[in-house]
Symmetry: C2
Subunit: 274 residues, 2 copies
Amino acid sequence: MCHHCVIESVKAGMLSRRNFFKGSIAAAGAAALAATAAPRPLFAQAPGKAEDLTHELWDNFPTYFGGQQFFAEQKFSFEKDTFNLYEWRISEHTGTHIDAPLHFTADGKSVAELPIDDLIAPLAIIDIRAKADKDPDAQVTPDDIQAWITANGDLPEGAVVAMLSGWGAHVATEKFRNVGDDGKTLHFPGFHVEAAQFLIEQPSVKAIAVDTLSLDHGPSPDFIVHNTWLPSGRYGIEAVANLDRLPAKGATIVVGAPKVRGGTGGPARIFAMV
Amino acid sequence: MCHHCVIESVKAGMLSRRNFFKGSIAAAGAAALAATAAPRPLFAQAPGKAEDLTHELWDNFPTYFGGQQFFAEQKFSFEKDTFNLYEWRISEHTGTHIDAPLHFTADGKSVAELPIDDLIAPLAIIDIRAKADKDPDAQVTPDDIQAWITANGDLPEGAVVAMLSGWGAHVATEKFRNVGDDGKTLHFPGFHVEAAQFLIEQPSVKAIAVDTLSLDHGPSPDFIVHNTWLPSGRYGIEAVANLDRLPAKGATIVVGAPKVRGGTGGPARIFAMV
């Protein structure tokens, strides 16, 4: 993958779109954050079981840019030293991981600054598997969210809204990145920018989550969803696992985001309780 | 700190102690694991609030060996690239973190292999602040655990048993490591090997946790608690924070252990719900 090309494309996209979205997003964001002052119960009822929403991380876990992003070096070995210990070298945005606002802003919240109340939240799962089966570039649209609301009622107070595209099943295969015939364009589902916009206008939504490598769908030339969502002060979750084991409504997500000072995100252990 | 000295000391200690403990621990461990087959409720009741048991991680977070164990290198910057991204280099055993059985065994469970049922568990907090105030080398003994049982009833099924020594308050100061007048010996509280032994003999206990840098107290020459506890198939938690905000009994710990294939442990995000 060409980092420079991606970056230039993002810059161009941002110049054209940023002014369009800037005012409305800032206003909607402030209103949404103000609306979250009312307390919500941590759990509506005692959860009976937990699911693991985390993929195992290994050295060749697929990455957005294509290169290896996790390396483990053994520093002590049981045979020689009586204990085992590794040192890791890892990009923050590897495996099942968080995007903090700081990832796409100059001075947004770091991953350590995400409030604990944003990390333990009701989970709303938007199931787009049917259309993702037909089109790997499928996107969550405002209509998909509206259909969820029609079926399940309003989005819960303080929700994390997740896309279930079925892509989690492909994590150990080439299809997770799904490089196109041009040898570079990725093809996997993500949020449409209008869905991000729609959710920014909902009071109290804390995060969006995807079971793919990016909040934006694979062919996005400009990270427009990242550039829309993260500057609103919310966070994202990428490469989440096992959403298909959960109900569309009723689970509570517990996001074990790494508490790294100044981090723009990082690998997370994520559970859901039902 | 002299790694080699520590290692040699451990080797000597293991040679003398391993045979003594080996048979009884293996037997007790097998019995305990067999006894966990009965299901327990994930939560006895709906939790109303959550506490963060995780210290923020920064480059100079204090370490057992004394050297820096976390480094962050900026690979992309918002100003230049329109997004921020760091690569981390980190020892597995840094910050609030897990010790998996593999840390002190040839082939024990890795951190990715810890069952989710072991990571969401009732928390029993043994408060030894009074004696740790007087003696930084204080240890949790079987008597301390027995006193907890007398006051609170049996240890809960599948418990994580944590030492509250008050050391969490010292994390940003020299007192967290508390190097002695000899310039090398550390002085902070930990579990006594007899307490580890006592807990191995209890059915179903999953883990021990400390608010200090090591399951063993600072002056331990031989990691005897590590060498007793981890080979029994259980895990440990080190440098846990904010135990003083929780009741001795009644909280549920949620351990966001990193799901790294083959990892001997790793930085974790840990919550408790009450």
